[in-house]
Amino acid sequence: MSDTNLQIQTQSLVQELRRGVIILAVLSQLHEEQYGYSLMKLLEDQEMQIDQGTLYPLLRRMEEQNLLESNWRVESSRPRRYYQLSEFGEKVLQEMATEWLRIKSTVDKLLSSKKENENETH
């Protein structure tokens, strides 16, 4: 497989991996209310890049699922839509965070055991 193919395939798989954790990342930053652009900057500052086209529709879907609450407010002469975790969203975030830690620990173990096996072979 050529380097380009390897790169394309890896990029696509990494994107898929990231897609799974975007919801968790967004929920984790909405204990306090944020509007779309401020949320994106907040995530970016913590090295979590989210495409604009993904973030805004995602916020709407999460609101439809009752995970978030939103309201329009006019600030610095511009209307902005502010999002914040709902009570239900708080509970879901807790559950998801626990599950995330469990998955992370399992995958860490799997990856480290693979490394150990490789070292033993060499």
Partner: protein, 342 residues
């Protein structure tokens, strides 16, 4: 900022109608935030390059609008496996009928002058036309089920199966969704045949000029078509309701009995009405049929046979209605009574 206005207009045209204004307002607000953040001359009109860079980063109007559009299927993934199964069955039946029809027609010919290739082309043409019609009707049936049945009412092929459900099946009179989907499809084919292709119901034979068909249903049959179509439509409506409901409830049983009574009335009218089958003498000659039998006497025999069959169907409908009423309103009560005694 003409560029931004033009961009928002483009996005607006492609957004779903639902919440269009609200989505657009949010996109506009975000774009303004981005421009303000990137403007090299704060407090002044941003340069065109900044606007272009922001819009490029935000994405093309098509990309942005697509992210807000809900997934829209003609036939969704939950219904698709069943759709494929029904399609296979319907296409197989249509192909089988065509092939059997062709074999009968060829065997019954004493000789024909049309070329082999011409005959094969006609057979293939007729077969493909029937297959496409079947494909269209099955697809339309499932597309209508997809649109009329809310998501959470649709049966889930991946749902966890519980063996205990078998014990409850009899009491709840659960419905057989694949069976009903096939029934809806076949009923639609029947309605289409009756209303648009009545002349295709007839005797097919090869003549010197190629395949010819003569209809066997005469004008007397036309008076029954609206009534037969009406009960077929009622049947489809009831089946769609059953797919939504998931089991036979009392109102659906009563609706089925009402449809059966309607069918009985129409069948009774057919039996007592004038003969509705007429065999064309030319078809009889072309098929090399028994020459001692005239077309009118064959018509008479066919009319008697069909009227006997319609009579038998009345008998079947009465039995079916009685059984459904008993199962729905009496059988359950008997069981409960016995349990009370125990």
């Amino acid at each position: 900022m003409k560029l931004i206005d033009l961009y928002l207009d483009e996005v607006r045209q492609q957004l779903p109608l639902k919440n269009r204004g609200d989505i657009l307002r949010e996109i506009q607000s975000t774009l303004m935030d981005m421009i303000e953040d990137r403007n090299p001359n704060p407090g002044q009109e941003p340069p065109n390059e900044t606007l272009i860079a922001v819009l490029k980063e935000f994405g093309s109007p098509q990309q942005v609008a697509r992210q807000y559009s809900a997934e829209n299927y003609l036939i969704g993934p939950r219904m698709f496996p069943l759709y494929l199964n029904v399609l296979k069955i319907v296409l197989f039946v249509i192909a089988a009928f065509n092939i059997v029809g062709v074999i009968i027609a060829i065997v019954s010919q004493s000789g024909y002058n049309t070329g082999v290739f011409e005959t094969i082309a006609q057979i293939l043409g007729s077969l493909f036309s029937s297959l496409f019609t079947g494909f269209g009707i099955v697809t339309l049936s499932f597309a209508s089920i997809e649109r009329t049945t809310p998501k959470d009412w649709k049966f889930d092929l991946d749902q966890e199966w519980q063996p205990e459900q078998l014990l409850k099946t009899e009491d709840k009179q659960q419905i057989n969704v694949p069976g009903l989907a096939i029934e809806i499809t076949l009923t639609l084919i029947f309605i289409a045949l009756l209303n648009f292709f009545l002349d295709r119901i007839g005797i097919y034979f090869l003549s010197d000029s190629g395949w010819v068909s003569t209809p066997i249903l005469n004008d007397n049959f036309l008076r029954y078509i609206p009534w037969i179509t009406a009960y077929a439509v009622f049947d489809i409506a009831l089946n769609l309701y059953l797919i939504r409901k998931g089991f036979w409830d009392n109102s659906s049983v009563l609706a089925k009995v009402f449809i059966n009574l309607f069918k009985i009335a129409v069948s009774f009218a057919i039996i007592t009405g004038p003969d509705f089958i007429s065999v064309n003498p030319s078809a009889l000659v072309a098929l090399n049929f028994d020459q001692t039998l005239s077309a009118s006497s064959l018509s008479r025999i066919l009319n008697i046979i069909l009227k006997v069959l319609v009579g038998l169907s009345i008998f079947g409908l009465v039995i079916d209605s009685g059984k459904r009423l008993y199962d729905a309103f009496l059988k359950g009560k008997d069981t409960r009574f016995e349990i009370d005694i125990d």
